[in-house]
Symmetry: C2
Subunit: 188 residues, 2 copies
């Protein structure tokens, strides 16, 4: 594995373990086994390293969505699966999740991060489109409806990660919220 990839991996590990503040360039470099300035050969600055983590994870999200779309289940069921994955990702890796969706200062990274983020959303919109084609969701313009569901899922996950949403017994608040949204959208 290249040093660059090692840096990204170890940085993500530190992020999961100790949150944003734990991702110090020196700690990452030490974890990889290089000097404290080696990361600068691969990343312009700390934000660029964080952006690389985000880009990698957005790509994985996109792949997960695309993979889900190919499943056997009913389209609306596949959409629910994808939303479940999304919520689980946010719950299991809250610091990483917030890096992808709520970190300022990462925006200045080259367009490749934005492209990866857009690709993930586009894959998600495909799932919504499939569900619409079976009448399980209203015929609202796909892009807007997908944006609405995406934003709702994000809002639920983010509020839950911040403790601003109480946990219910059994299902997480986010899972319940998404289920309610789909119910209200589909029952009409």
């Amino acid at each position: 594995m290249s040093t660059r990839e090692n840096l990204i991996t170890q940085a993500a590990l530190l992020l999961d373990k100790g949150g944003d503040a734990a991702v110090t360039l020196r700690a990452v470099a030490h974890a990889v086994g290089v000097s404290h300035n080696a990361p600068y050969r691969h990343f312009k600055d700390r934000n660029a390293l964080l952006a690389a983590i985000a880009e990698r994870d957005f790509r994985m999200l996109a792949l997960a969505f695309e993979g889900t779309r190919l499943g056997d289940a009913e389209p609306i069921q596949r959409l629910k699966e994808a939303l479940g994955l999304f919520i689980q990702y946010g719950r299991d890796y809250p610091a990483r999740y917030r890096l992808l969706f709520s970190d300022p200062g990462i925006g200045a990274a080259g367009g490749s991060l934005e492209a990866a983020a857009l690709k993930a959303f586009t894959a998600f919109a495909g799932l919504v489109e499939d569900a619409q084609s079976t009448g399980a969701l209203p015929p609202t313009p796909t892009r807007e409806l997908a944006g609405l569901i995406y934003a709702t899922a994000h809002g639920l996950v983010d509020l839950q990660a911040g403790g601003r949403m109480r946990e219910q017994k059994g299902l997480s608040a986010a899972e319940q919220g998404v289920a309610l949204l789909l119910l209200l959208l589909g029952a009409s």
Copy 2:
């Protein structure tokens, strides 16, 4: 005005102007005109100062929601007004908004911050309840429906603040998204 309040005000100003990273204890102290260590007489550490900003703003949000509830317009219209205020707050003060809703490390603050956040949400739920009572929204349990709408608005604002949501012409994506949600919820 007490030094403590001055510290909160200047910190919020710096936050608006330069984002989270600009809120350095030394810069805040300098802006107030005290030594670099004076803030420690009023706040345990940097996070405690940030939490104080968040608490103050949550209180203001709660007041805004409560005030809106007393308006003359139809309940569903008052709810839309409140959502408009919320979105505008997030758009005008994105760094502050993210402090309230997406900042880890603030959770460790005493329960008074959580209480203020809950009060804001409770006021919002009151608006939803009023709208339900006129049949403008489905009779889903109020707390869950309010949580859903709240989370959706938050998700839209947060995605927009992070640039992950394209701006439409005229209305912001968040305003459009909320309108679409209410339409889909109410048209059923």
